[in-house]
Subunit: 452 residues, 2 copies
């Protein structure tokens, strides 16, 4: 038993063969690696070696390796291709991989690629390219297994054994009529466990879980996850089967969407490239926009402070409580907004739950506010010896925690209702909003009680 | 074609039948629903109705519905069971579902459950219960298809058709010797596409991607995701096949781990329960601990401010820049730490990349620092008319952004090296650390330049 996990020493070996120009050993070693690992190896090669190494791959490996390369590397490889080689590669790629690849290429190259695609495949690819980004249509593949309902189980198995080669997944078969209208679903498992003489229409499942081409990919993966499906059929407006989404692509999307949410929630514009492969200036660009926006809001808080100079000159102790108060408010707000955003992603929380959320956050925040305010009251009263400061701080704390929880709960739900991505309403923005509100409350209470 | 998606009107219909005590219609309607949806319906029933409705389910549905219930609901159902009913349920559950269920039950109930489990299954369950939490052993199932290497393809297909019924997934078959040592893997797809006369040992894949029982579940799902696997074999120290992890469980784990990371990164102790099903006091408990800890650090910042009272009484304008400076530092730090934590989860960043990370963050932060400092310099110089304040603020901004990026990049990597969960080093903690450092820098620079 050999563990084929990607490991550093194997990669070093490949690099060594290449350096020594021992191409025979290199070719032999590449043949032993998994396609995913070969793609990773190609990513760390110097640019001028990529196409060269790619040509060494055995024919049956090359399409799978190609599909796993980063777009920049794919471009470099294809630029070195003759027309005939390009046509053959496009022919070998699964439809969804071909579409992913073409979508990432610059416009002038897309024309060449489409021209070199075999006509039948080009028609399908063109249709795919028209589906909106992140829709079921844009992530599906057209390589699925189609059966007729009057086939017997023996016919169906024979059909699979004859035509299964090109299908991305054969484990769920789709039954359609002559107009491709989806009529039923049957798993290879059910086929195998049925008697040869049974007829498909008697054993197929007629209640079908499906997606439409324009359905958002997040909804697609939620469905597949909910019902533990290996593939999900995609139909057009006339209920004609046009493609399927497979579980491996669904997992990719789950990971991508989670990464996007993480990035948005940490005040970054999301990008698809792995961190180490992103140049510093692109990293900077995706981070600076939100920093600037939040800095502007931070300035607003500066203005609130400036307009309260009189209060803290008269009573400098007030200043020292500001970071703790605003930080706590921000933390409560980001806790709640994170729970909301994640709950919505998983389909557990909907806009219609808003009153349940408000009730739950009210109870939770009053409880937490009491504890936090109590501790602060005791600390300020006992350590700083000021009853009035203790009252100001603990009152502000109660109100801030309550408002932070309320805003953190309501804003993401309202955003989703307005079709704005709720992840925008995450920690950084909520923190800035809560900061301003807590400063208002704090100085409002302070000036009222101190009669400034 | 019927869309069987869970929808509100169908649920209302079920509730109506139950209210009207129209059990015949209820039973018929339940039979039409997907098991996952029936489980969801049972969750919203009043406690005293759960067991009652559960008994109405057709026998072939009940194990699947049961596996999808929340632990509290499972307990309520089982408490209403006779011994014979419990044994039958335990027998019908897949091993991994049975283990998940038993793990969540209170200790006194576990004994009864194990006693009622058929002896052979009990042995397996007992072994599973001993694997460490979140290990490959604890998430695998023992229902896989095993072939012998001297079988022909025709034998293998016949074997599948005869014995496939109880297997959780039949699409990947595992080839072992008489001592259960794993020797090869073959997909049902390869079987179907091969000639009947071929022998398994000639067509099976001998390079196997596998997990060991003690491997962390995060590593397991990373492997499955990397190589797009529908199932992954799990072996013990003697390379004996003991179970498989299936892709649907891998997806559950990906979602759970992402949710945990989101919660940790928003300063909460993670929990597995959906938000709306968690009582307020449990929500409060999982949130208050971190709030208290971060409040303590916030107090530290208060002390830094108190010790600089002289500076801001002499120069009150300084106070108004504090929120913007600390917020920006916190935002930069949480951006970087989020990129690190997510990159490590996806296996894209390792501890050995630390110098690459430092280089990249230095370049990125200098660039962002220059822009942010430049804008602040101009604003303060032009609007507040103070050159010295402009210099203090822009210098502090440069240094803060650089240090925030550095800390945000290094701390999560160091944490992972020390086997501490890097998600702990996320936004809230980094923010608090960066807050303190930026205040130090700010007042250090201010006092040096203002000669206070």
């Amino acid at each position: 038993m050999i563990d084929t996990r990607y490991n550093e020493s194997e990669i070093k070996q490949l690099e060594y063969y290449l350096e020594q120009r021992d191409f025979k050993s290199l070719i032999a070693a590449l043949r032993e690696e998994h396609e995913v690992d070969v793609a990773d190896f190609m990513e760390i090669l110097p640019d001028d070696k990529t196409a060269f190494v790619f040509r060494m791959l055995p024919k049956e490996m090359s399409a799978d390796v190609f599909a796993n390369l980063e777009p920049e590397t794919q471009q470099r490889v294809v630029e070195s291709f003759s027309d005939a080689e390009t046509t053959s590669m496009l022919n070998d790629l699964f439809i969804d991989d071909a579409v992913d690849f073409i979508e990432e290429m610059p416009a002038n190259m897309v024309n060449r690629l489409l021209r070199l695609t075999p006509p039948e495949k080009r028609k399908i690819i063109n249709r795919y390219l028209q589906y909106p980004e992140d829709s079921a249509g844009s992530i599906m593949t057209s390589e699925y297994t189609r059966l007729k309902k009057d086939m017997t189980v023996a016919d169906a198995i024979a059909h699979l054994r004859e035509f299964g080669e090109d299908r991305e997944t054969i484990y769920t078969c789709y039954v359609t009529d002559d107009f491709r209208i989806l009529e039923g679903v049957i798993s290879v498992r059910s086929l195998l466990l049925s008697n040869d003489a049974e007829v498909i229409s008697d054993i197929m499942q007629k209640e079908i879980i499906f997606a439409t081409t324009d359905m958002d990919q997040e909804e697609v993966v939620q469905k597949m996850h909910r019902y533990d499906l290996l593939s999900l059929p995609v139909v057009d407006r006339e209920n004609r089967l046009v493609g399927i989404v497979t579980v491996d692509d669904a997992v990719d999307i789950i990971q991508e969407e989670a990464t996007e949410d993480f990035e948005k929630m940490a005040a970054m514009s999301p990008s698809e490239r792995p961190y180490l492969k992103t140049p510093a200036w692109i990293l900077g660009r995706k981070r600076i926009v939100w920093l600037l926006f939040l800095m502007l809001s931070g300035m607003l808080n500066g203005l609130i402070l400036q307009s309260n100079e009189a209060a803290f000159i008269a009573y400098p102790l007030l200043v020292s409580f500001i970071p703790m108060l605003t930080d706590t408010g921000g933390n409560v707000g980001s806790q709640t907004s994170t729970l909301m955003i994640r709950g919505m992603t998983l389909g557990e929380i909907k806009f219609s739950d808003i009153f349940k959320v408000i009730r739950k956050e009210t109870a939770t925040s009053l409880m937490m506010g009491l504890i936090l305010a109590g501790i602060n009251f005791l600390r300020v009263f006992l350590l700083d010896g000021s009853l009035i400061a203790a009252i100001i701080l603990s009152l502000s704390m109660m109100v801030t925690v309550f408002i932070a929880a309320f805003i953190g709960g309501v804003l993401p739900l309202v955003a989703s209702k307005l079709k704005v991505d709720p992840a925008i309403m995450a920690a950084p923005l909520i923190t800035t909003i809560v900061d301003a509100i807590s400063l208002f409350i704090y100085f409002g209470i302070a000036r009222a009680l101190l009669l400034i």
